[in-house]
């Protein structure tokens, strides 16, 4: 393939290492040294993490967590253009400012839909196993080019801005990765199976409405624990969906599976384990309470969960 997902890892690594260098040079930064070490090491893991011995990576993960936990990442005061300049720029550039924002999804879509199987000289143009990520990355590069064309700010300024936002998001940036790691460990140790076993063996699943409620609740709780419905679906469908709801109660398998999946989504809306959806937005939007997005979602999620139980009971 011509554009491999590895190039994006190198790009991300380079961005993180330059972030570290900028922080190291910033004498006003409150935690200059630890922050620089954190981002530099993370950048190195992006570039050559797959070539290091896995146990060494494990040790580095513990080290990075220790830095994050001991308050080693503290945000510095951002340097902004004065409000009057921003206002004038926004009037001068107007809707042109939206072009790069829209270029990212446009390129992602175009790449995924049109170029998935495209070949140039016998080789795949985009990494065929990661078309989505690669199209997204290319979209970001295109958008960056458009940004510098429109605003006349170069790459260095872009890295500086990126550093300020990375400073704000801090360790939340790699929470999805940490949670994927934890999910892998849970799967390896059989946590989902143990939980489903407890649920199905100590509850009267021969009563129809209890079976439906336990199935949905199992999906909901397991998705909360694992931070995604994908981990809960095979466990709960295997433990209850097919043997009890489909076979004993003759439920429609499509309805059973889909409603279970949705009950899982309701759980995902309520858990910090789904960092991409719940922790990152709080950090990106600079809300001090990191659980604020979960709090905004919880009442809706509970309503949806109850609707799933009722609808599954009626329609299955």
């Amino acid at each position: 393939m011509i554009i491999s997902v590895d190039y994006l890892y190198w790009l991300a690594g380079a961005l993180l290492v330059s972030t570290a260098l900028l922080i190291l040079r910033d004498k006003a930064h409150p935690r200059r040294f630890f922050s620089a070490v954190f981002w530099a090491d993370l950048g190195i893991l992006f570039v050559i993490g797959d070539k290091m011995p896995p146990a060494a990576v494990g040790v580095q993960i513990l080290g990075l967590s220790a830095i994050a936990a001991s308050g080693g990442l503290r945000k510095s005061l951002p340097k902004r253009l004065p409000a009057s300049v921003r206002e004038a720029d926004s009037r001068r550039l107007n809707w042109k400012l939206l072009i790069p924002v829209l270029a990212i999804p446009f390129c992602t879509l175009g790449g995924t839909l049109l170029l998935e199987k495209a070949k140039v000289g016998g080789a795949y143009l985009l990494d065929p196993t990661n078309t989505n990520s690669v199209s997204f990355g290319v979209g970001c590069i295109v958008a960056l080019a458009l940004v510098s064309l429109i605003t006349r700010d170069g790459v260095v300024q872009a890295v500086r801005q990126s550093r300020e936002m990375t400073d704000v998001i801090a360790w939340t940036l790699i929470m999805p990765q940490m949670l994927a790691m934890l999910g892998g460990m849970f799967q390896h140790a059989g946590v989902g199976e143990a939980g489903a076993y407890l649920a199905t063996h100590y509850v009267a699943t021969d009563v129809r409405w209890i079976a439906v409620a336990v199935y949905c609740l199992g999906m909901f709780l397991l998705s909360m624990i694992l931070g995604g419905a994908a981990g809960a679906v095979p466990v709960m469908i295997g433990a209850m969906g097919v043997p009890i709801l489909v076979h004993s109660f003759h439920g429609n398998p499509a309805v059973v599976a889909t409603l279970g999946h949705y009950a899982g989504f309701a759980g995902v809306l309520m858990t910090p384990m789904a960092a991409h959806f719940n922790l990152i937005p709080a950090a990106v939007l600079e809300i001090p309470d990191r659980y604020s997005v979960i709090k905004a979602q919880a009442p809706t999620a509970i309503c949806i969960f109850l609707a799933c139980v009722v609808y599954l009971y009626v329609a299955m």
């Binding site: 999804p105 994927a180 949806i304």
Partner: protein
């Protein structure tokens, strides 16, 4: 199946306890992974190796947050937020709740048509959706206090999530649908992807209505909080600072 080891559930307890006690989530997760490995009787070296392999394999996950940062950063430097707020303030009928309902609708329908990438917290909510909600609310109710701004932002993020989750599962070629189909197939039940996608539509509609109702009530809350706030209008300066 008889030899299920229940000790790894300790890892779940560590996570729950850590989050409830509000310890640093990154440390909680690292420790939970470690404890789970120990409970499953894995040797130390293998625990670290397992953590390392999984971490490196998941490197694609932060890309979606990291790579748009330079772009959004430069655009904000040149007044993207100001542009969005000024433009939306010209729409007379707009309220913060209605604007977010409109976004929820667009997000859910486009995801149901397979356009999942039209959105996202870094690319869309921070530069466009949140400023839009804040701009409208400001035009309606005057300067907002911190609590109002943070709540509006949290609801902007929630609209993105709910629209995405309950929209994408109605799309036939969505990975989650194909995954579910595959899981059912493994347990000896064959269903078509279409029937899976269609089975969820009533709940997808319900999710839209339920969240819209809450967004609609957000306007009332803003109004009430505003009348309360007018007594102590000292927060105007701190209000300017929280805006990124």
């Amino acid at each position: 199946m008889e030899t299920i080891n229940f000790w790894p559930l300790i890892g779940v307890a560590v996570v729950a306890l850590g989050f409830v006690c509000r310890f640093n989530p990154m440390l909680v997760v690292a420790l939970a992974a470690f404890v789970t490995g120990m409970a499953a009787k894995m040797p130390l070296h293998e625990i670290l190796a397992q953590m390392g392999v999984a971490f490196v394999k998941a490197r694609n996950l932060p890309l979606i947050t990291l790579l748009p940062l330079p772009i959004i950063g430069v655009l904000e430097r040149h007044g993207l937020r100001e542009f969005v707020q000024r433009t939306i303030a010209q729409v007379r009928a707009a309220t913060a709740g209605r604007a977010l309902i409109a976004y929820l609708f667009v997000r859910e329908v486009s995801a149901a048509l397979g356009l999942m990438s039209l959105g996202g917290h870094v690319q869309m909510v921070r530069p466009v959706v949140a400023p839009m909600a804040e701009g409208v609310a400001q035009a309606r109710h005057g300067d907002l206090n911190e609590r109002q701004i943070y709540r509006l932002r949290a609801f902007a993020a929630s609209s993105d999530n709910i629209g995405l989750f309950f929209g994408e599962d109605c799309f036939v070629a969505f990975g989650g649908i194909l995954f579910t189909q595959h899981v059912l197939h493994n347990f000896g039940v064959d269903v078509s992807a279409t029937s899976l996608a269609f089975a969820g539509i009533p709940i997808a509609v319900f999710a839209f209505l339920a969240h819209s109702a809450r967004l609609y009530r957000l306007d009332g809350w803003l109004k009430k909080a505003q009348t309360k706030k007018s007594a102590c209008s000292s927060s105007n300066t701190s209000c300017e600072e929280v805006r990124p």
